[in-house]
Amino acid sequence: MMIFTRSFVVAAALCGFVGCAQDDDKRLDPQVIQLLDLEGMKFDLWQKPSTATVVLFARSDCPISNRYAPEIRRLYEAYHSRGVEFYLVYVDPREEPDAIRKHLQEYGYPCPGLRDPKHTLVAHCGAKTTPEAVVFGRNRGMTYRGRVNDLYVDFGQARTEPTTYDLADAIESTVSGRSVTNPRTKAIGCLIEDLKD
């Protein structure tokens, strides 16, 4: 199991941010991915039929992640009605379900919160930071991984307004069955690797 996870991390690292080929064919293996809902039950990302599934890796005390809450709400409002499912996946194994519920409520997230304490989905997607978004297509293949938009350029370096709306574009393309123009972008935020047990 440990070796398996590591090899994914290496693979993701090799892939880097240079935008390797879309790994649409890399399907989620329910045996490997161990997502939990806030009741502590195993959660299957595909239990609801969807035109696209958006996952946002988050932690409640990541300020950059939190500042994107209004944008996530807007995306939810725009795409949920078009069959897109949204999930916030909390990556800090120490984060208690109650704290997550409070966080979801405070920031007005309309979507469910899940936990990935063993970073199985993190590893599968090759996610590095919170907030990093991943979009899966109808066939469960990953069509996009990266930033929500380019508001942040680095820690402490934010634009006044974003100039690219990467996640919105990726969702739109995925829902309409087109290929995503920039399938890989670099997300700025807190490093998930710091949270490994």
């Binding site: 370096q157 006044t160 807190c190």
Partner: protein
């Protein structure tokens, strides 16, 4: 604001109030009064002595083979340099107080400490020894890196030092007065919010403020806050216009005298400078200008302001100087645009703190002191400027800068499209202005005069520099935005201060074309007209302003001034009384009213009014002088002398007290007593040129020409005191030559006349009449040329 125009019209006449401009971020027309004080802030959070001692114990050397552990190596660094902000209810978004806290951010900590983003501290090492510097040393950064490379080991958990215990300094020693803003709901939008909160101060009489401290209830959303005082009712009006607590945009107020009251995340705990306090008047409003950053959820925002009152009046008066160019014009697309400026200080000063200010395009800031002996000192150097983290930096020890030191500032801007902080997409031409899309190149310096009696010399000289700088900046801004009210009003005010009333009038008329109902420019126009001698039209303007806003004290005051200068004294008196009713604690309206009362012989009421003004502002020389004038009229010369002595103590460049008293005696026709006083004054201050000059004047009037000439020669030979502001020196020099010229006329001495005119015309090169008289006289002496 309230008494702006009045001051503008009277600079030079009033003894003590050397006023000048201070332009600050999002604030228009700040006017500071000469009385000032030390940079305050306060210890937001103090660590207990025990934990401080623990934190600063010697850290083991850097090169080592044994593993770096949290307990022995990392915790001391983090607790000393990070935990002050990274703890609950402080400004940082997460805590760094335990091993788990730190471990779960370890790589991120290495990344941000290597890049220099954290701890946020802009000044480069080695230039300026600042208090409470948050900078990490190179070995501390390496230690953090090594720790992560070694797998973030904890070490002996028992050996982990105690996390800093956060003690609220207000709990240990509560402020004398705590004022709270109303609660404001900051929505979860993405855009930053700039909002001003207005606070009234519940005090009965004037108080000396030793320290004033801003405390956000919600430091996490507060990017910075700056406190100003507003003696007008302008901010209250704007607050009332906005449905929510406070109002958006530009603040309206001035820095408290000589103070920069700032709150910034993790800011240094600045000690209170002893012997330095500033006066807070009742009916003054405090304006808290805040920059807030939404967090992603709705936030309840509230601020507290804590004031500690001083037991005693100040012993020294600091000043805040704003240096740096306003001549900013950055072409679109330029990657490195340099703006430089310099100001040469006229006296020895001590520099206490430095606060550089620019907006988002600025990349580098450097301020250099070039001493006249050729030595050069970098006062501050910032290589990676970030407006979000700028702060006021206080030197551990004040820096002495001798007279004639040039303060050279250098700002570098990146106005290219590649600069991610560029707010203009695509990049466009950027000029001077207070909006975040404009730029600034300001350096605020808190200074004291090394010899306190020379302070007025500095303030007058600085004011001239500041007005010149502003005129250039506002004109630049108007090139790009011809109808910008901020620049129009600012430029007009600067012109009024400089006595260029015609220019002020035409700008204000222009301004009123687009905003005919704006009260402030109407009042300014009135002031400009009054200064230009057109009292009738001034009266019209002020009257219109009183109709628009019946509570605008300055409008009533201006109306009264306009009436008084048309000799409509009875109605002027009524209007002054109206102005006093609206600002009962103000000085200017009360003194002006007293003048009218003195004119019609109501000395008792005038004295009553001025005594009350003195209770409110005992440190104002001009109030003392007015009381001296009244006492003299009542023939109470002992009392008069006391007021004169107090006035001289407060404004050391004025005449010796006995000379002042003598002047009042002459006005009463008591020439013999006056002469006796002048002789006594000369005995007491043999080096002072004024008694000689006045004795000469008297002798000339009594036709004792030879004696007069001797006095004038002596007066000319004496050194001019080094605490005289330049305008004062100028007046003295011109007066001396006027006297010599008049004496020459009496004596029919053409050589003396030519000599005095020749010197005189050098002091007044623009006086064409003078040049003409000189030329004619010279020709006359040469005799007919034909």
């Amino acid at each position: 604001m309230l008494d702006r125009g009045f001051k503008g019209l009277n600079v030079g006449r009033k003894g003590t109030r050397w006023i000048w401009f201070l332009e600050m971020h999002d604030q228009r027309h700040g006017i500071l009064r000469g009385v000032v004080v030390g940079l305050i802030s306060g210890i937001l959070v103090t660590m207990t002595v025990a934990s401080i001692l623990y934190l600063y114990r010697p850290v083991k050397s850097q090169s080592r083979s044994d593993p770096v552990t949290f307990s022995s190596d990392i915790a001391p660094i983090i607790f000393a340099k990070c935990s002050g902000c990274h703890c609950p209810n402080q400004s940082a978004p997460f805590s760094l107080l335990t091993y788990d806290d730190v471990r779960s951010r370890a790589r991120q900590i290495v990344e941000v400490t290597q890049s220099g983003f954290m701890p946020p501290w802009l000044p480069e090492e080695g230039h300026g020894d600042f208090l409470a510097a948050r900078r990490l040393t190179e070995s501390e950064r390496q230690m953090l890196k090594q720790w992560v490379e070694q797998g973030t080991p904890c070490g002996d958990p028992v050996g982990i030092p105690p996390a800093p215990e956060l003690v609220d300094s207000w709990e240990k020693m509560p402020p004398d007065l705590v004022i709270e803003t109303p609660g404001y709901k900051l929505s979860s939008q993405e855009r930053d919010v700039f909002r001003n909160f207005v606070l009234s101060v519940p005090i009965d009489g004037p108080r000396w403020v030793e320290s004033i401290e801003i405390r956000p209830f919600n430091p996490r959303v507060t990017h910075h806050a700056r406190l100003g005082v507003d003696s007008s009712n302008e901010s209250t009006r704007r607050d009332a216009e906005d449905a929510d607590p406070g109002y958006e945009g530009m603040a309206w107020g001035q820095d408290p005298d000589g103070q920069l009251v700032i709150w910034a995340p993790g800011m240094a705990a600045n000690p209170v400078t002893p012997g330095v306090a500033w006066r807070l008047h009742p009916q003054t409003t405090l304006v808290l200008h805040t920059h807030m950053q939404p967090t992603g959820k709705t936030e309840e925002v509230k601020f507290r302001v804590g004031i500690r009152f001083a037991k005693a009046p100040p012993e020294q008066y600091p000043a805040v100087l704003r240096i740096g160019s306003c001549d900013i014009d950055i072409p679109a697309g330029t990657r490195r645009h340099v703006i430089e400026d310099q100001y040469t200080i006229p006296i020895d000063i001590d520099l206490h703190s430095i606060f550089p200010h620019a907006h988002s395009l600025c990349r580098e800031i450097e301020v250099v002191a070039l001493r006249s002996d050729g030595s050069r000192e970098l006062l501050i150097s910032i290589k990676n400027f970030d407006e979000n983290w700028h702060d006021a930096y206080r030197y551990r020890k004040p820096i002495r800068l001798p007279q004639s030191t040039r303060l050279h500032s250098r700002f570098v801007y990146d106005n290219s499209n590649e600069n991610v902080r560029n707010r203009n997409r695509p990049a466009r031409r950027v000029v001077y202005g207070s909006n975040s899309n404009d730029e600034m190149a300001d350096v605020y310096l808190q200074v004291t005069a090394a010899h306190p009696d020379q302070r007025a010399v500095l303030m007058e000289d600085y004011k001239r520099y500041q007005l010149q700088s502003q005129v250039v900046g506002y004109r630049r801004s108007l090139e790009l935005y011809p109808d910008n009210p901020w620049s129009q009003e600012g430029l007009a005010t600067a012109y009024i201060f400089r006595g260029e009333t015609d220019k002020a009038i035409s700008i204000l008329e222009q301004r009123l074309k687009s905003w005919p109902r704006a009260v402030f420019p109407v009042v300014s126009l009135g002031m400009a007209l009054l200064a230009s001698g057109d009292a009738e039209r001034a009266e019209e303007q002020f009257r219109q302003a009183t109709l628009t806003d019946g509570k605008y004290s300055l409008a009533w005051f201006g109306l009264a001034k306009a009436l008084a200068s048309q000799k409509k004294t009875e109605r002027a008196e009524q209007m002054f009384r109206r102005a006093v009713e609206l600002t009962p604690r103000g000085t200017d309206a009360r003194l002006a009213l007293a003048d009218l009362l003195i004119q019609r012989g109501a000395l008792d009421e005038a004295k009553e009014i001025c005594s009350a003004a003195l209770d409110d502002s005992p440190d104002m020389a001009n109030v003392n002088l007015k009381l001296a004038e009244i006492s003299a009229k009542q023939k109470r010369y002992d009392e008069c002398l006391k007021y004169c002595q107090e006035a001289r103590r407060l404004a050391p460049y004025t005449h010796p007290a006995k000379v002042l008293l003598a002047v009042f005696c002459f006005a009463n026709g008591e020439n013999e007593y006056g002469k006796k006083l002048l002789r006594e004054a000369r005995e007491e201050s043999p080096d002072h040129p004024i008694p000689e000059l006045m004795l000469g004047q008297l002798a000339r009037q009594e036709q004792k020409s030879q004696e007069a000439l001797e006095h004038f020669n002596l007066a000319a030979a004496l050194l001019i005191p080094n605490n005289w502001p330049q305008s004062h020196q100028q007046r003295f020099r011109v007066l001396l030559q006027t006297e010599r010229f008049q004496l020459a006329q009496q004596l029919q001495d053409i050589d003396l006349a030519l000599d005095s005119l020749d010197i005189w015309r050098r002091y007044e090169p623009a006086n064409l009449k003078l040049q003409e008289i000189y030329r004619n006289l010279k020709a006359e002496k040469a005799g007919p040329t034909k």
